[in-house]
């Protein structure tokens, strides 16, 4: 049994060469690719997300970690069984119609992916019907909406309302975020969760599906 702590600590330290070596070592010692992925890499990204939330790690470091993780996953992917590669849940994410901001939303998408979710990033300026279509097609569990302008926040409500009308509301959890968005606003439009940053978004998504 390999000590996955070493992998976790090396990824948190952003020591890419060591992470990749440890992943290969762990495979040689007979660990399954699924174990290494879930208990090593994804577990490390969970720690990194928490550190980001606390202000102990910063966006460039999180990006570097995600890149290292992707290289690790590249080694593991051919060896992952069907069931092992199954995800924590399916997320549809996008910036609402009328709003073209994408940096924060892309960070959330990246951290959720690193946390083991399957993420469908629809992009920016997404009207409610496109969200609804994607949720149906992908059978999503979580919808993440981003708005960076006070003028586009009402579109979040319209998107939630459209989901209610479509009859899909009960099948999906809705999370909202973006600089002007608050917890109170999230509650007022009937969202299930609010996340102030990418680290807490990934954590909140896990909580929502548990």
């Amino acid at each position: 049994m390999t000590d996955f702590n070493d992998i976790k600590e090396s990824l948190v330290r952003l020591d890419e060469a060591r992470v990749l070596q440890l992943v290969r070592d762990a495979l040689e010692k007979g660990n399954t690719a699924g174990d290494i992925l879930n208990n090593g890499l994804i577990a490390a990204m969970d720690i990194i997300g928490e550190k980001m939330e606390k202000g102990d790690m910063f966006i460039p470091e999180v990006l570097m970690a995600a890149q290292t993780m992707a290289k690790g996953v590249h080694i593991l992917k051919p060896l992952l069984g069907e069931d092992e590669s199954s995800s924590r849940g399916c997320v549809v994410i996008g910036t609402v119609k009328g709003d073209l901001h994408d940096i924060g939303k892309n960070l959330v998408a990246m951290l959720m992916e690193s946390a083991g979710f399957t993420v469908h990033n629809l992009g920016v300026d997404i009207p409610p019907d496109v969200f609804i279509k994607a949720i149906k097609e992908k059978k999503a569990n979580i919808l993440c909406l981003s708005a960076l302008l006070t003028t586009t926040m009402p579109m979040m409500k319209q998107t939630v309302d459209a989901l209610v009308e479509s009859g899909l509301r009960d099948q999906i959890k809705i999370m909202v975020g973006g600089a002007p968005v608050t917890r109170d606003f999230a509650a007022s439009i009937g969202a299930d969760a609010y996340a102030p940053d990418a680290g807490s978004a990934a954590k909140a998504a896990k909580t929502l599906l548990n």
């Binding site: 202000g55 910063f58 966006i59």
Partner: protein, 266 residues
């Protein structure tokens, strides 16, 4: 001289929003007065945060600030109806914040601007989103200047915002905007360059030192205005000092005045 657009009267700031809800005129006037005293050349007014109340909040804010405003106001709204109302209330030609190349915004703002005495903040944003290269920024700036000149606006009244983006997700974003500012200034020496700067440091710690350093680099490239908090004494001192070093402070008077007022210290 570098022109400061004071950004504090914005209902997305908690204290300002509370004062607006309570119609606390003293708080708002005190804040606006402090900004002018600190060297603001324009006082930005943004009443957009209380959804559904923008028109009445903007009206009250202008009515409250206008009597004590020694400098022009900067009317900050995407809604031409709100701007039209606000424009009718001001006693000095205002700055309008803002127009962009996003079709909906552009098409509604152009008829509003035509024939008005005002300065305009023009964002290098279009329907494809934020600019992705220096050339992208410059092309958008060229288009904005051409369109605004075609309706009779003077280059001296145009303030291009090249849209500063975070370097935490792409370390080339700083140099990208610096190069664009140099090119825009070379093409249009009379057009001003303005904008918010704090985006540059998004996602990084110790943001103030990043913002302060960046504004000096931007000034070196040709930025001659910024939308900032004039009560941030350190950034104001850095701007005044840099403006002097760039040859914009005759006999170093503004710098010396700042030193005597205790605003600039080493």
């Amino acid at each position: 001289m570098f022109q400061i657009i004071g950004e504090r009267i914005n209902t997305s700031r908690k204290k300002v929003q509370a004062a607006v809800i309570e119609r606390d005129a003293d708080y708002i006037r005190r804040d606006a007065q402090q900004q002018q005293d600190a060297g603001a050349d324009f006082i930005d007014i943004n009443a957009g945060a209380r959804i559904g109340h923008e028109m009445e909040d903007m009206k009250w804010l202008i009515k409250t600030i206008q009597p004590i405003a020694g400098v022009p106001l900067c009317l900050d709204s995407p809604d031409p109806a709100v701007l039209e109302m606000a424009y009718g209330m001001v006693d000095k030609p205002p700055m309008i914040n803002s127009i962009s190349l996003e079709k909906e915004r552009f098409d509604t703002m152009m008829p509003f601007l035509k024939g008005k005495a005002c300065k305009i903040v023009a964002l290098c944003m279009d329907d494809s989103g934020m600019p992705n290269s220096s050339d992208d920024i410059v092309k958008r700036a060229e288009k904005l200047v051409a369109e605004l000149e075609a309706i009779g606006m003077k280059q001296n009244d145009i303030f291009i915002d090249p849209l500063v983006q975070p370097i935490s997700t792409d370390t080339q974003k700083g140099i990208m905007v610096l190069n664009a500012v140099r090119k825009i200034k070379a093409l249009f020496p009379h057009v001003h360059i303005t904008g918010g700067l704090s985006n540059i440091s998004y996602g990084l710690p110790q943001r103030k030192i990043i913002n302060q350093t960046f504004i000096l680099l931007m000034m070196g490239a040709g930025m001659d205005s910024a939308i900032i908090d004039p009560l941030d004494a350190k950034i104001m001192a850095a701007i005044k000092t840099a403006d002097m070093l760039l040859g914009n402070d005759s006999y170093c008077m503004a710098f010396l005045k700042g030193v005597r007022a205790g605003l600039i210290v080493s």
